[in-house]
Symmetry: C2
Amino acid sequence: MTIKDVAAYCGVSVSTVSRALNNHPDVSDEVRNKVMKAVSDLHYTPNSTARDLARTQVNAIGLVVRGISNPFFTPIIRTIEHGCEAAGYTMVLHQVSTTDDEVRAATELVQSKRLNGVIFLGGRYDYTKAEMQGLTVPYVCCTYTNHFGNLDRSSYSSVAIDDKAESERAVKYLISRGHRRIAILLDNPEDHSISERRYAGYCKALREADIEPDPDLVLEAADFDLASSYRCVKDFADRREDFTALFAVADTLAIAAIKALYDAGKRVPDDVSVIAIDGIEISNYLIPTLTTLCQPKERLGEEAVRILVDVLEGRAGNRHIRLETTPRLGGTVKSL
Amino acid sequence: MTIKDVAAYCGVSVSTVSRALNNHPDVSDEVRNKVMKAVSDLHYTPNSTARDLARTQVNAIGLVVRGISNPFFTPIIRTIEHGCEAAGYTMVLHQVSTTDDEVRAATELVQSKRLNGVIFLGGRYDYTKAEMQGLTVPYVCCTYTNHFGNLDRSSYSSVAIDDKAESERAVKYLISRGHRRIAILLDNPEDHSISERRYAGYCKALREADIEPDPDLVLEAADFDLASSYRCVKDFADRREDFTALFAVADTLAIAAIKALYDAGKRVPDDVSVIAIDGIEISNYLIPTLTTLCQPKERLGEEAVRILVDVLEGRAGNRHIRLETTPRLGGTVKSL
DNA sequence: GTGAAAGCGCTAACAA
DNA sequence: TTGTTAGCGCTTTCAC
């Protein structure tokens, strides 16, 4: 069932069918109706592969997600999908695992699918000019920036929170509640990525309160997942008593941490206070509700699309947007 | 940068380049190396659109997921992806929302992308022959069956748990612990879908224990999500005292339910016991751990791929596999 | 307003 | 072993 069959069925040429199908103005209503009827009679669906090959412009945006199972990304993906559709672009979703190279993946995707632009959802903070040179279309980093790289600000876009400032804010909140022995849970304080930025904010908050960061209070999970987080915190809590609060750099880590603390005989918030950053849906349903700084998930997605589409359509150049979190005062932090 | 450029660059024909790229045996090592060098020199990436169009066989399997944000699906998607890759197929992921028609989506996907087969992850239980007729490739329903439809068993495949038997098992467990006033949380007991099947098992378990199902104990969430579940249970628990246990037809619903019970002044498991079906990762980290029947998520994915690939490669016909759950005895059920 | 025909970039006969 | 060439199904000039 091809466009030829449709053309034959209603006795017109393939180009006419193509025009009718693509809403070209210069097709008579009569012919248009005939074609549409044939399409539904024959259950014809255009072959998008052929269509993409023939079209000069495909109007497609790639969304490269690093770790699709991350619940923090779920609502962002949804928003980006809607945003692309509303702007008249097809969204091509591509998942890479956290060990894959998202830049290479994006580059291949662009080459092979003729994408107009790319949105990265989650990624490394240290892209270099050299490695981005193969990526010949505009792109925006969603939820992170190039803090540790050497990209020119004008060569890419980003929309994210200020990791350092926000984690500083989280830790200051703990300090304001009387905590001084504050542990931090992350995956690697020198990963040149999210953990390192949030670790920096943690240190800054402590120092400004005249507390010297204690390396012993840095909990490094082997991976950025629940199981690693649990093991790491459990192990720590089993041997240490001298901390009253924990700052987790992500909600998911915090959820596993709270369980680990519990299993180590420590209650949240009575024995240990916990605060995190992200604000995923499910952490709202913990008992007590997780205290966390909620990222503006919908706006992160909306702005990413807006920026990219503006660049693609020549309305603006690359931009960098910093958004703020909204504190969710749950029940996991107690004043000392 | 096309295959032509590569051909010109190393002075051979495009077909030779194509052969080298596709690992055809009849290419001399000398030429093959020359081509490979050109490819890397030129940073050439084949255009997959053109490739798919030209290839007779694309060897691609569509994965149509109904509600990609469902955390229960996450590990299944991962397994299916690996399985497809291992079997030499490309996996094309397509998400539809729970209000979309997954069959229409699959049909279009197949037509437009030339897929060899489809795996549905989550879907309606009442497909009719008429509506499936447009879907001209083999397909397997993963995590559900055609219980309420009229499909011939030989016309499709499925891999799922026995919803009715497993929910019967869950409820019987509650009964064995002394519970008799048992509520059920679902989205619609007559949805001709998962809720209806699990509701049937609930009723069966009760009747076999000589307990007449009480319509007042059927909690219908407006949607299959956390917020609806919370509202529905909160509302119920605020007015009713006469139930000692709750069976939630999914882990996610149970998580919100436990919070709602808590906010209504009821403790789990002291005042109300809770059991669910699914066994998602995060419910392991609740306090107390959610008691639930864990679906064999990895096997569900593996078997779906295995069945489909067997059908596609003519090794076997359509099959229907029923898998069993594994109880996770958490801490949300108390003996009366 | 409609048709004929030239590609889009690649693969796969068919020749050589 | 390699080259030539005819499509894959569609869009899009360019004529009419």
